[in-house]
Structures are given as structure tokens and as C-alpha cells.
């Protein structure tokens, strides 16, 4: 194994000092053309690549951003994270990922690890977490931004959308169409402010319309779980005409079970989703849902975080969502 060449090797070969080589790489303009050419030739010849650890040690900058994601399996995060990563890559930063599996303790631990590794900034998902995490971030002065949720004036800036208002608008649309008995299949709400906000939004819409309270069943992020939740809901609210779901995956599962039970959608039962995954258009009938600007959000979060790393003040950013009215929601029959 050929030992990796060091700055010194390059310097020797080019007949200059290590300082000059370093300058060629970092501030080319201060080095005179001829010298630079000689150095660059040596760099090429040796296949030199700077050692990041050494550089980070003195520069106190790792060019690394950390992200703690519940899980990458979830398509909801995958797209946004990809966009986030694209921006980072373009700015010569790298992404260090950790996943929490929706466990607050694991998340806190991951943040600690990321800080110890010298992450220049950290991306967090959602607002729900141990305040100690924010304290840690503050005392270590590691900038962070929260995405997938929005709250102005929180401990760290957020880039996201209003989960509650979006769901409220969707349910209000259902109410406008004449639905009176509405139920919801929600994702797990414990430690998940996004899921909770969606439930709250739906509740608020019903309350504002003076309709009976929302009946909620929680389900794991899986179509099978959603299908079973639909059974329980049908049991508890036999006259339900609209089932709103916390996300598209749950909606797809619920719709599938509805079909299996011989219930036509939207004829006998309307079903809605949230997120507007590709999935939403592929199921029959196409899902009425809420479109979330995942890509925009990921990019904006990256920009915000990079700005913060750069020492610039960062504002929270509220992104708009959009109702996607498709076929799974229609006026109730009766």
C-alpha cells in the first residue's frame, strides 16, 4: 500500500515549502503563476489529496453537516433529504446521517455524536424533542435547523410547513362537500409533533363546523396497520363517510381494506391522504391529499443551515402546501 502523499511530499517534489503548497490549494491568487504551476504539477503527479482530519483540526471546520432522520425508508424523508444533500454537495459539504427510529433518546444521542464529530451544523426533523438537545446545541454553538415542521421563534429556526393548517383545510373541504361523520387514521403521535398537528388540524376543522368530534385511530407507518385501523374505525363509527389519513401510505392501506370490504371509494366512503407521494396518483381512485414541497423544503433547509454555519442570522421559513383534489374524496351519498 502506497502511503498517501502528504503536503510535505508535494512541497519536496515541487521544491517549495509546505506553506506555499497549502497556499496554492487554498488561496491560489497569492502565489505567483510559475510556482503554482510547478506545485500543481506535483500535486497531479503524486495524486495528492489533502487530509481532512488534519485540515479540520486546525481550521475547526469539518465541511460536514449532520442530519438526524427518523428513518430513510420513509419516502417522505427520502426526497427532502436528497434535495438537502444535493445543495450540500454543491457547496462542498458532506452529509453525515444518523437515524433515530422516532426515538427521542436515540435522537439526543445522535446529536451528541454528531457534535463530537465536529459537524458544522445539524438538521433536525420536527419540533418534538428533549430541550436538553437544544441546550447542548447552544452551549456548543453548533447551528441547527428544524425541517418538516414550522414554528417561528423556537430555539432553532425551522423550515417547513403548517401541518395543522394543511390538514384543517383538507377536512374543511370534506365538510364543504357535506361530510358530517369524519374519522381519522393517524400515524403514531407520541414524540411526533407532525402527526399530532395533523390530528389537531382535523379536529379544529370539525369543531369550527360544529360537527361531532373526530374519532382517531393510530397506526404504524404501514398499509397493513392502516387497514386494521380502518376496521376499528368502522366499528366505532358505523356511519362514517370520510376517513382522513395522516399520510398517503396510511390512506392507501385504508383504501385497500375498504375495497376488500366491498366499500366503494369514494361512493360509500371517502378517503384522503397527506404528502402527495407518487403513490397518490397510482392507486385507484387517485388520492385526494395535501402536496408538501419536499424538494423545496430540503433545499431551503440546506441553504438556511449553511447560512447559519456561515454566521448569518437565519429566519424561519414557512412553505405553502397545496390541496390536491383528486378522486378519493367526493360528496357523501346519503
Amino acid at each position: 500500500m502506497a502511503k498517501t502523499p502528504t503536503l510535505e511530499d508535494v512541497a519536496t517534489r515541487a521544491g517549495v515549502s509546505t506553506a506555499t503548497v497549502s497556499r496554492c490549494l487554498n488561496q491560489p491568487d497569492v502565489v505567483v503563476e510559475e510556482t503554482r504551476a510547478r506545485v500543481m504539477e506535483a500535486v497531479e503527479a503524486l495524486g495528492y489529496a489533502p487530509n481532512f482530519s488534519a485540515r479540520a483540526l486546525v481550521a475547526k471546520r469539518t465541511q460536514t453537516i449532520g442530519a438526524v432522520i427518523p428513518t430513510m425508508e420513509n419516502a417522505i424523508f427520502a426526497e427532502g433529504i436528497q434535495a438537502f444533500q444535493d445543495v450540500l454537495q454543491a457547496e462542498r459539504y458532506m452529509l453525515l446521517v444518523a437515524s433515530s427510529g422516532y426515538d427521542p433518546a436515540a435522537e439526543a444521542e445522535a446529536v451528541r455524536t454528531l457534535i463530537a464529530r465536529g459537524a458544522d451544523g445539524i438538521l433536525l426533523i420536527g419540533l418534538d424533542r428533549d430541550p436538553a438537545v437544544y441546550d447542548l446545541l447552544a452551549t456548543q454553538s453548533v447551528p441547527a435547523v428544524v425541517a418538516w415542521a414550522f414554528a417561528s421563534g423556537g430555539p432553532v429556526p425551522s423550515v417547513g410547513f403548517d401541518n395543522a393548517a394543511s390538514m384543517r383545510a383538507l377536512v374543511a373541504q370534506g365538510v364543504r362537500l357535506g361530510h358530517k361523520r369524519v374519522a381519522m387514521i393517524s400515524g403514531r403521535t407520541e414524540g411526533n409533533d407532525r402527526a399530532r398537528a395533523r390530528v389537531e388540524g382535523a379536529t379544529a376543522a370539525l369543531r369550527a363546523a360544529g360537527l361531532p368530534d373526530l374519532v382517531v385511530e393510530e397506526a404504524d407507518y404501514a398499509t397493513g396497520a392502516a387497514a386494521d385501523a380502518l376496521d376499528r374505525l368502522l366499528d366505532r363509527v358505523p356511519d362514517v363517510t370520510l376517513v382522513v389519513c395522516g399520510n398517503d401510505v396510511l390512506a392507501a392501506g385504508a383504501m385497500q381494506r375498504a375495497h376488500a370490504l366491498g366499500l366503494s371509494v369514494p361512493g360509500q366512503l371517502s378517503v384522503t391522504g397527506f404528502d402527495d407521494l407518487g403513490l397518490a396518483r397510482l392507486v385507484q381512485p387517485a388520492l385526494t391529499t395535501v402536496r408538501v414541497p419536499h424538494k423545496t423544503m430540503g433545499e431551503a433547509a440546506a441553504r438556511a443551515l449553511l447560512a447559519a454555519v456561515d454566521g448569518q442570522a437565519t429566519e424561519s421559513l414557512l412553505l405553502p402546501t397545496e390541496l390536491c383534489l383528486r378522486d378519493s374524496l367526493a360528496a357523501p351519498k346519503s
Copy 2:
């Protein structure tokens, strides 16, 4: 901002040398109980956390694994990567991700960056790439493993499945059911050995059965693109009875277009996918496809890579796939 405490701060507070503190942290057993207690107390009090860059600089180990993924948006990678990452995290390694967007040059660049950052090992997707990448890996002696494809005896070990054989088995099943005119919607094959292998597998199955050659249309990884590809295929092969697709997303797109054209599936046209994403069960009719053990593969790849980092010899691992016979494939009408 409170400057992060260093080893020296801890040493001073505990009244010992930095060497002793370092030993307490790395080889606690060589330090006498009483001293260790004093040191640990100081560590706690100061909230000390070792500086990774400094440690990496001297230890020449970063406890970091790099992965170059075409894109995380693709559900196919998301699940496997998550499993990969879970194993890493359990072994106290972190994952540094880069994406190539299916561009070989970008991939090579990413590998270079990852090496410069001192990644202890690198995960690569698929076999297709500039041989220079393997050379680089070899000269820098950075272990790597390839996943999502399989080739024994390649430059680096692989953990994956046989794309060609799997597709061949699927098409053979179609042939068995009586299909004679078969066409394929493939993902882009340029620089993508997985896509190419799937085409080859389908071709081989037809040839073995003495049937007319496979007609292929390529499409980007999107349902709309697949739908358009179906149009072209129908144009080229009006009497086609089975359209096999390179993956489930393409299949879903093709099926959707078939419905829009008034073609019943599988009545007038059979359609198959590949990967068995959750999607496959949600579309109508449920997709006949090939199940790929993404999770197992991700985990196995992580174990193999970690073993290689540890200096152990690593064998390639071929994982089995499984035909998922569902409703979108049936015997042709005529």
C-alpha cells in the same frame, strides 16, 4: 461560546497528565482505580468530548463509512441504505453519504472525496464504473463493497442478487403461461449494469423458448415516462401480450396508461415489475414482480464492509430473490 474542553483541560483539573486521561478513555484497565475515578469526574464536570479530527489524525481511523448512492429518492435504495446504516450505527460507525445521480464521473469524484475524508470503507452500488475507481481504492487501500448487484471475483466483493437470472425466471413464467409476444420497459441502461442485466435476463428467457426477440423501450425512473414508453411499445408491437418492466415504478406507470387506453390488465395485457416495493400490492391489479431482499442485503453489505475494514477477508454474497406471483400477470387471452 464556551470553548470545547480539551484533553489538557481535563488533565489539569484531575491533576494528571494528558496521557493518563487518554488512557482512561481508551484502555481504562491500565489506569489504577482511584486515578481513573478522579479523571472521570473531571470529564463529567467539564462535559468533555474527544475531538474526532485530532483522534482520526493520529489513529488513522475515522469510524466513518462512505456510501455513494445514485439517489436516495429511489425507494429501492432507501430501504437497503437504512438497513446498512442501522448496522453501522450499532457498531459505532457513522455514514457519510454522497449521491451520484447515476453519473459515473460524479461517482468517481465522490469516491475521491470520501477517501480524502478518510472514510474507513466505502459502499458502492452496482458494478458499472470507471476501472480507475477500483484502482484508486486499491492504491489507497480503502476497502469497498458493491451492493445491489453480484459478481464473484470482481475487484471488490459484492453483496447482491442476480438481476439477470431473476428477470429471466419472471419472463420464463410468462412464457409458461403462454405469452409469445413480450416487450420490455427498461430503466436507463447506460452506466447501469442492474438495468442491463434485467434486459439480458428477459432476452435470454425468450431466446431459450425460441420466441421472437424482446422489444425494449427505455424510460426514466418515473411513472409518466413509463406510460409514454408503453405507447411507443404498443406502436412497435401491436400484438404484445406481456410487458415486463425494469422495476415496480415503471410497471405502475405502464399499468396506469394501459387503463387509460382502455386495456384491461391482465385481461388484454399482462404487466410485471421488479423489486416488490410496497407499491406493488397497492396498485390494481396487484403487481407480479420479483422480491429483492433489500434489508438483508443492506445489513449483509454493512457486515461485509466492516469485516473488510477490520482486515478480514471478505467473500461475495449472493442473495436469493423470489418470484411474487400476483394478479397483473395471467395467461394471454388469444
